[in-house]
Symmetry: C2
Subunit: 137 residues, 2 copies
DNA sequence: ATACTAAATACAATGATGTTGCAAAAATAA
DNA sequence: TTATTTTTGCAACATCATTGTATTTAGTAT
């Protein structure tokens, strides 16, 4: 895929097979992934440490963002143009208690919140847990 | 403090010095605490494992609730009457990027959220990061 | 007060997760 | 192709978390 190389190039990263594979894993599986998930998918091919460093790099460059979870951090693709300077995420994350998958609801924005005097909010992270459409019958 | 013993009794837990100390640590420090925080405060007196198990027990009994964080789980007191059956938490958590403390904003409720068809929300976790009143001058 | 029983703790062992330093390999630039 | 810079793999280490078990303790019955 040339799309992968393009994304890496845009973020000023060298093309390596590990980065291509990690990126394409995020694209193929649609849901948020933990380091362990990636290790499970690619661990035969790459060292644990390399995957850690790839995640760190992608995070810094604005290719992925952290997704809060009640049992460990996950990561998901930044859909819009995040960069090294600013990550902008105002969408909701939904974790299904049945299938266990966590997804970005890109179109569901976190509503405006009024905070008491003195609080200067900068980042918002909303995780909703429940049952997802696939598991809800 | 007899208040501590009372709280433990209400949740059908035996009174032990470790449980009293963990509970009073949560009460004294007002902010959310990680296992590491508690180990730092009480590690001389109790084994790491005992603190883990105390947190697990408190969680199950509805004495504390999880506070999501981008760098590791924390816990905070359940102010209202949570029980073994149901944890009900609809308040906001605020993490200060300066002092690093995370607090429950008990009075700031998470607003109603409209989700797409098929999603059955059950739990809400909203973490707002920024500058807290104490660090904001 | 003492003995009994169930629960909680300490300790050791093990496993999972995450980090650091550095030599070898690979990607880009010259 | 060669030189330069970045990335990777590996090993060592550090931190975090879980499990099993003997001992101790809390609550209860005697
Ligand atoms: Mn997202
Ligand atoms: Mn809270
Ligand atoms: Zn599901
Ligand atoms: Zn602060």
């Amino acid at each position: 895929m040339d799309q992968l190389r393009e994304t890496l190039k845009v973020h000023q990263l060298r093309t390596t097979t590990c980065r291509e594979d990690v990126l394409s894993t995020f694209i193929n599986k649609k849901n948020a992934l933990s380091h362990g998930d990636l290790e499970g998918a690619l661990g035969e091919n790459y060292d644990r440490v390399t995957i850690y460093r790839t995640l760190k790099t992608f995070l810094e460059k604005g290719i992925i963002h952290k997704v809060l979870d009640d049992e460990g951090l996950r990561y998901a693709l930044c859909s819009h143009s995040c960069s090294e300077e600013k990550h902008q995420h105002d969408h909701i994350h939904f974790k299904c208690n049945i299938c266990g998958k966590t997804n970005c609801l890109e179109n569901q924005l976190i509503p405006e919140i009024a905070l008491p005097q003195g609080y200067k909010p900068e980042n918002f992270n909303l995780l909703i847990q429940g049952t997802c459409p696939s598991c809800n019958n």
